[in-house]
Structure formats: C-alpha cells, structure tokens
C-alpha cells in the first residue's frame, strides 16, 4: 500500500462522476428521500416520546431534543457510510462503472473525489431532513444557530465518506461491510452520545469516546440545536476533517492497488 500512497491530485473533473450519481439518484429520488428520513425519524420519535416521558431532563434539555441532536449526526453518518460502502462498491466492483470511467481521461483521484462529494451530498439530504423535523417540532433554542448545523452535516458526511471509502477499497464482497458496522459504526452509536450522554460511561470508555469522530460530530451539533455555541469548535472541525481526509488518501492508495495494478 505504501508504494501507492501519495498526495491526491484534486481537480474539477470529479464533477461528471458526481453528476452520474446524481442523475441515477434523481430517478428514484422520492423513495430514496423517504428511506433517508423514515428510519432515523422512527427511532427519534419513538424513543424520544416513549423513553422521554419516563425521563427527566437529559443534559439540560428534554430527551426528545437530546435525541434529535444526536440523530442529526447519526443519520448523517449512516447516509455517508451506506453510500460509500454499498453503493460505491456496486459501482466499483459489481457494475465496473469505475473501470469504464478510468478508460476516459479521468484518474482514480477524480473518481473517488466524485464519490466522496456525492456521499457528502447524500448526507446533506439526510441531515437536512432531520433538521427539518427539528424545525417543525420546534426542538431548537435559536433558529439562526441551527443553520450552522448545515455545514456541520456536510463535514460529518465528508468524515464518514472518507472513512467508508477505505472499507470499500479492501472489501471482497458486500458481506465484509458487516464487520465495519459491527466493529466501528454500532459501537460509535453507543459510545458517542447519540442516545445518552457520554458522561454516563465509565471513565475508560469516555476516554475512548473522545477520540471517535461521531463524538466530535455530536459535540458540534447538539449545542447548535439547543442554542449555544459549541466548545472547542476548531478541535472538532479539525478532527472530522482529519478522519475524512486521511480516509480519502488511504482509500486512494488502497483502491489504486486494487484496480490499477
């Protein structure tokens, strides 16, 4: 892999790759949006009202609000992850769409960047859908601050898109992705404060949690929902950019080894 590692050459040529995915998505836009929305919404409203009615305030807010803020980050993570795992894998391995693109004057850097930006687009859609629900139910503290959630959502999409592309690059089949969900995504959902505050965890797990990207995402999103400026914004932004950026660079090397050797 080291042999294939080098700085990516970014260029606007990624746009046709993005556009290809967009045009395909457009054909099935309505069911796709409903799918994006339905699953996180059910969890959020079910647990929010069901569990929430049993709980006093959680972290200084109603449980529904607490959960809504977590769900923005969580559903964004899922949207980006599913896109670069299952959908990108179909295009790369099953349909051989990337092979066809690489025969044109495109590089793998362009293809992966197109896929990554597409994953960010899908995340935006997913995160915005939850944000719309937050607006609709009046779960926010300050409307103008909630607008800052939009770039946060894009950042979270970038982070998990980049990380997921690494899994895509090394996967022999769809089944392989289950490891990533079981070993990375699901633990993160439980350790990063989606359903309950991280402060409820034993100290060791809290220390682990502080390093996980979803924690940084939620530390940005939750204050913005409640109407406060997040603490340590720069740290969280850098952490999310680093996870996504490193993911992209490593994924590029691994995919190059896989396809162009």
């Amino acid at each position: 892999m080291i042999r294939h590692l080098r700085l990516p050459r970014l260029s606007w040529r990624f746009v046709p790759v993005w556009q290809r995915n967009y045009l395909v998505w457009k054909k099935l836009a309505i069911p796709s949006i409903l799918g994006n929305l339905a699953d996180p919404m059910l969890y959020m409203l079910g647990l929010g009202y069901g569990l929430g009615s049993l709980l006093p305030e959680v972290g200084g807010m109603s449980y529904l609000t607490f959960l809504a803020a977590g769900t923005v980050a969580y559903s964004t993570m899922n949207a980006a992850t599913f896109e670069v795992l299952y959908s990108s894998f179909s295009r790369m391995h099953v349909q051989r769409t990337w092979d066809a693109i690489l025969n044109a004057p495109m590089t793998l850097d362009d293809v992966l960047l197109g896929e990554l930006v597409w994953a960010v687009s899908k995340s935006l859609l997913s995160g915005m859908a939850i944000l719309a629900v937050i607006w609709g139910l009046g779960l926010y503290g300050n409307f103008w601050l909630t607008l800052a959630i939009i770039p946060v959502v894009a950042l979270v999409g970038f982070c998990f898109g980049g990380m997921g592309l690494v899994m895509n690059a090394v996967s022999p089949s769809y089944d392989f992705f289950l490891y990533y969900f079981t070993l990375a995504i699901t633990p993160m959902v439980l350790l990063c404060g989606v359903f309950f505050p991280v402060s409820q965890l034993p100290p060791v797990l809290q220390a682990v949690s502080a390093w996980l990207p979803l924690t940084h995402a939620i530390d940005l999103a939750r204050p913005l929902v409640v109407g406060q400026m997040p603490d340590a914004i720069v740290l969280h932004v850098i952490a999310l950019l680093a996870y996504g950026g490193l993911g992209y660079v490593i994924a590029l090397a691994l995919t190059r080894r896989r396809l162009l050797r």
Binding site: R13, P16, V17, Q19, R20, L23, V24, K27, Q95, R96, T97, D99, A100, I101, L102, N103, A104, P105, M106, T107, L260, R261
Partner: protein
C-alpha cells in the same frame, strides 16, 4: 500512431510483458493475438497508462504514456473485454454520461448521440434500459460509447467474445466502417478468423513476448505449408507410423487426430484412399495453424 519499445511489466517475480516492441501506423488495423495469459490485456492497460511499466517507452498519438496518460486517453476509445455499460442508465444516457467524462459539453454530446445510435443500429432502442439489450446490442453500444469523443485510435479487447455469428458479423461491419473512415485500431482477439478478416498486420504474443509479426497472409505463407489434411479414424497409429512420414511434409498427432501439413495434398489423399477406415478433412492452412505451431497446443489457464 503507436510506438512501443522495450515495454516490460513485472508482478513479483513473474514478467508478464517482456520487452515488447510494437509500431502501429495511422489508419492501420493491428491485431494482438495470443493465448490466455500471454499479456494482451496487460499490454492494453499499459498503453492506456492505467498501470505503470517497469521499463520501456510508449508513445500514443504522439503523446508519452504514462507521463501524459490523461492527454493520450483523450485520443483513444476503449472497448473493454467485459461489458461495463452503466446499468442504471438507458442507452442514450450511457452515451451522454460517457461523453461528460471526456469533458464534452451538453450541446456537443447531443449533436453526437444520433449518429452514434445510428452507427450502433440502436436508434430504435435509444430509451431502452441496458438489461433489455441482447449481448450483441450491448457490444455495439460499448463500441459506440468508445467513439463518443471521436477518437483517432480505438483499443478493442476481444470485442466479439461470447457473441453469436450474426452479432459478430455486425461488429465486424462496424469495425470495417471505422477502418475505412481512417481510424487506427488495435484489436486483441483469440479468434483467428477475426484477425484474418480485419487486421492489416498482427503480432502473436506468448509469455509476454512477440513471437512473430506481419500481415496475416504473409505469416501463413512463411510459417506453414499451404494445405492441411486432418486424419482420424481406426488404424491411425499404424498409418502414422508407416505412411505419414513419406507423404506429409510435416505432421503431428493431437489426441486422436493426425495433422498432416503439405504442399501436395493430392498425394496425401491418394495415399489415404488405400486405407478406407480412415476419414480425413482437407483444407487450406490458416492463421490458427500458424498460431498453434508457434504457441503450442498446451492449454493455458
């Protein structure tokens, strides 16, 4: 149009391409033949700059590869061995999406699509989904897709593998039109008749090397006797032992069949008539005979 010298590619200890030299003139159809694993597809990938050679130089349409592979690929259309049409798009959308990868604008692609559909004989299928197309239609669409940016040179990797005879003839017709229009074509195949039909010149590759190179007719004339008599049936071993050496210029036994190569087929046939238990097939020698002579009859997997 294409100049390759000393091209070498290694994977670990295995040298897949070993010092390949090729020259293809503008407007020429050049065949790259060889058994499975001879290095044909690897060579095409090297020529496109998709993989980096360990040694040697490539100049494609006057552009050095892989140094400026992107620029070179602007001039090349590729028909890959395995269909990789976009199954999420219709026939027309496939052409449009592919044009965009070459940086073509909406208007330029729209102007090009009707003639491509026409070329592929798919005008009536423009809005069909890929899954609804037959194998031959898919190949024709792949060929049309490779032409979307009007390339000077075309790379075809086994373009008719898996097609029925009707579909193959349609592809050949299309390729002849392109040759007549002055396109340069590099074609890999292991159908000898395809190479004989289309290629002005060809190279037979084996173990990553050019074994022989030339025009199909000239190769047949210089490497093999003019006629072949294939003999089989009961009593073949005896006949082989007693007569074959005397009447054949050269012969070999493969399984239950004797291949007798000769300039004087009459003499062989006269001799065979005295052994009525034997059956035979008399035919002019062809490129396949050259191929098998030079690359051997062993299976390559």
């Amino acid at each position: 149009m294409l100049k390759v010298s000393g091209l070498t590619k290694r994977y670990g200890n295995a040298e897949v391409v070993r010092g390949l030299d090729l020259h293809v003139q503008r407007g020429e159809c050049f065949g790259l033949l060889g058994p499975n694993g001879a290095g044909k597809t690897t060579t095409l990938r090297l020529l496109l700059g998709l993989i980096e050679p360990d040694a040697g130089s490539i100049e494609l349409a006057g552009i050095p590869v892989p140094a400026q592979a992107r620029e070179a690929r602007m001039k090349v259309g590729v028909v890959p061995q395995m269909d990789n049409l976009d199954p999420d798009f219709s026939v027309r959308e496939n052409l449009i999406a592919y044009g965009r990868y070459f940086g073509m604008g909406r208007a330029a692609i729209a102007a090009r699509v009707p003639e491509l559909l026409d070329f592929a004989g798919l005008a009536s299928k423009a809005d069909a989904q890929i899954a609804q197309l037959s194998g031959g239609m898919k190949r024709r669409l792949t060929l049309a897709r490779a032409l979307v940016h009007d390339p000077d040179i075309l790379f075809l990797d086994e373009p008719t593998t898996g097609l029925d005879p009707q579909a193959r003839h349609l592809i050949w017709q299309g390729l002849r039109r392109l040759i007549n229009a002055g396109k340069t074509i590099v074609l890999t195949t292991h159908f000898m008749d395809e190479a004989e039909r289309l290629a002005d010149r060809l190279a037979i590759l084996d173990h990553g090397r050019v074994v022989v190179e030339g025009a199909p007719r000239a190769l047949i004339e210089s490497h093999i006797e003019p006629a072949v008599v294939e003999v089989y049936g009961e009593g073949l071993p005896d006949w082989t032992r007693e007569r074959a050496g005397a009447v054949c210029q050269r012969f070999e036994t493969v399984g239950e069949t004797l291949f007798c190569y000769t300039g004087d087929a009459e003499r062989v046939i006269d001799a065979l008539k005295q052994s009525p238990a034997l059956r035979y097939l008399h035919r002019p020698s062809n490129l396949e005979d050259v191929f098998l002579k030079l690359t051997g009859r062993d299976l390559r997997d």
